[in-house]
Structure formats: C-alpha cells, structure tokens
Subunit: 239 residues, 2 copies
C-alpha cells in the first residue's frame, strides 16, 4: 500500500521529461477528482448500476489508504453526490424529481443573474462567440444531430454563466451542471424541444448583444424555468 502511494507521488520524478501533467495535487484531490468523474460518467438516471461504494474496496482499487479516500468521500457527500449511512454503507445519490426541479430553478436564477451581469460587463467579442456554438445547426435541423446539439446546448448555458464574470456563480453552478446536464440530455429529444430551444437561445444572444439587461435576464430565466416545467410534467420516471 505504502509503496503504491509513494509510486504515485514520485511518478513525475521517475519520468522527468513527461511534462508533469500537473499531478502535483494531494492524493485526496486525486481521489476526489477520480470519484467525481466516475460518478458523472455513469448515467445516474438511467442505470441500475452499482450504487453502493465500499471504502475498503476503493482502497485496493486506487492503491491508497482510507484517509484520503474518506476525505474525498466527505467532500462528495457535502456536495450532495453521495450519502453515507453509518454502518450501512455509502451510496450514490439519485436525486428525486423534486430535487431536480429545485436544481433547475436554482440554475435558472443563477444563469439569469449571469445574463444580467453579462449585459453590463462582457465584451462584445465574447458575446459574439455564442453564435458560433450553433453555426453547424443553422442549415440542418438539430433533431438530426441530437447528441451534438445537446452538447452545444450545454456549452451555451455554461458560456453565458462564464460571461457573467461572477466566479461565485460559476463555482456554484459547476456542481449543479452534473445533474442539470443529465436532465438536459435526457429531455432534449422530447416534444421538439431542440428546435424551440435554438430559437430561444438566439433571442437570448440578441438580448445580450443589444445589452438589454432586463430582457436577457428574463429570457434566460424563462428558458430554464420552462425546462423545470417540462421535467415536472413529463419526467415521471424520476424518483
């Protein structure tokens, strides 16, 4: 165990020319990033996959001791991705429909504020870039490239938040993204939402370009609140 841990820490030294992929973080953070990516990758809302984590199992799987693993798990619990029940086990949380709707509403609140701030501070050039996200869908309807469009869709929302320039909002939405992204992907194909959303996105971009603070804010909020309503009505498969 101890040997494996040291090997991880000393890997950059052993390969001095490997361009050191910023492996410099603590084991705790490495475990944290690793587990979070693993949780994000598995489609939480589709599968019957292994929802239980085992500390001792992770020890052998990752080759580190319980301490960094427990610290990483502790962070994930705080962020609401897992839940540890004393003497029962550690479980990946599947959010209830109610919780998902609340997260989408929160996203709406934060993105609309970001849109407001973007109209006040974002440079024109940055706003202009938003249009290019959808260039490839100008001619062919997005319904033909749903997966690509879904990614562009998510990139758009992330970008609006970035343009707001508030690090606090960017950080706060980062974790929401993991869940909201899964939902956006799951619903993008429903009832022609893709076609409607692209129109709404363009309106938001126009409002940003015209520096129409109130309009941009309102459109951004309503666009995402519509998703909440849609989920409320159509996603009964959720807990």
């Amino acid at each position: 165990m101890s040997v494996a841990a040291k090997k991880v820490q000393r890997a950059p030294r052993a390969a001095p020319l490997s361009l050191a992929p910023l492996n410099t973080s603590s084991l705790r953070n490495q475990v944290y990033v690793h587990l979070k990516a693993a949780i994000a990758d598995m489609d939480i809302y589709n599968a019957q996959q292994q929802l239980r984590l085992d500390e001792r199992e992770l020890i052998t799987a990752l080759g580190v001791s319980r301490t960094p693993i427990r610290e990483a798990l502790s962070l994930l619990e705080q962020e609401g991705f897992i839940r540890t029940l004393p003497r029962r086990g550690i479980y990946i949380i599947r959010k209830s429909k109610r919780q998902i709707i609340e997260m989408i509403q929160m996203w709406a609140a934060l993105e609309s504020m970001a849109a407001r701030l973007a109209t006040l501070h974002a440079p024109d050039a940055e706003i202009a870039k938003l249009r290019h996200l959808f260039d490839e869908f100008q001619n062919s309807p997005p319904s033909e490239h749903l997966h690509e469009y879904s990614d562009a869709n998510i990139a758009f929302h992330t970008e609006v938040i970035r343009l707001g320039g508030s690090q606090a909002i960017i950080d706060a939405t980062r974790n929401l993204l993991l869940h909201v992204r899964a939902i956006r992907r799951a619903t993008i194909g429903q009832s022609d939402r893709a076609a409607r959303s692209i129109v709404e996105h363009l309106k938001i971009i126009e409002a940003l370009e015209r520096r129409d603070t109130e309009l941009a804010e309102r459109l951004a909020r309503q666009h995402t609140l519509d998703l909440a309503t849609h989920v409320d009505r159509n996603c009964d498969f959720l807990g």
Copy 2:
C-alpha cells in the same frame, strides 16, 4: 485524549435524564458546528484577530483527535471559510470586496427566485407573518434601534427564502448568509439605508400578498442588488 472523547460520546448515557440535547451527531459534526459558529461569531471583517488555526492546538482545545478535526476543517475549506496551505498553516479567509459583491449578487438571484416561487406556492398566512417582523418599527424609526432592526432585516430575507419552498435554495443561501449578514449589519447604519430598506421590504411584502410574481421577483432582486452597489461604492475598507 481518548478518555475525553469517550466521555463526550457517552455523556447521554451518564446523564439519562438530561433531555439529551441531540448530542447524537458524530464528533466530526460537533467539531464542524463548533468551529463554524466560532468563525461566524468573530466579526471577520473588523478584527485583527487570530486568523490562523492550528490543528494540534484544536486537539487540546476540543479534546478530540486530529481525524474529526481534519474532516471538519476539510468541510469548512470546501465551503470557503478557511484555506489550508500545505506546510504553512490553516487560515480563516477574509473575503475580498469583489467576492462579497459576488455573494450579494448571488443572494439577489436566489432570493428573487425564492420570491417568485413564494408568490406561486406560499400560503397567505405565511406571507402575512412577514409584516409582523417589522411591527415594532412601525411607530419609531428603525434608526433608533439599529441592532434590532438589523436582525429583523436579516430575518425578513431569510424568511422570504424559506417561503420560496426550495430546499436547494435554502441550503445554498445558508452559507452565504454568514457573510451577507456581516455586510448587512455593517452597512445598515449608512446613509439612511434602514429607513429606505423598510419601505422596500413592505413593497416586496405587498407584491407577495398580491401574488404579483414578476413584481415580487424584480423588487427582491433590485433591493439586494442595491446593497451590492452600495458596498461597491462605500465599502472600500474591505479587501
């Protein structure tokens, strides 16, 4: 050390009639609550107080081992209250002016969303209670009881968020509150803000009562954004 820890855990048993003040949580949580309260109590933005924490010192002060203390500190770091620099120490974070403004903007976004949701779902009786928070200030101007008014002020905003009914928003604002509260307290006495704020609060209450979703949302947002603007202009004493 071990003796002290066991004493804490077994205290309910030793005093079976002590009404067991829900002491049931883990040491980690007890330490967490303890430290967080300590941080919240010390007026972060006023003092030159001890900004450095020492793990070994906390061990003797709290009578538990490093493990629960480290886990608690890890949570506090994640929440942005402290920062641990490897081999340097653990420091209580003093937010910069920029960060505080971002937190207030975020608060504005979340509270305005809560106000929107409140107009849709909160019962009349609950909304009516909001007025009573300011009963005692109806006759005498709030400037005469600044401290009490400041508390009522904070209670009002917290209550609006609660009426929104979104647990996600309630949770997200809980940590913001510790900082926003300190700022509201520090600024409530400046440039007649108390008198203006009570008028605006009443307008928000009216909008909630009339179920005017858009108005309540806009008023709540603007009220708090004004605070952000005020801080931006007048609080240069902040980092």
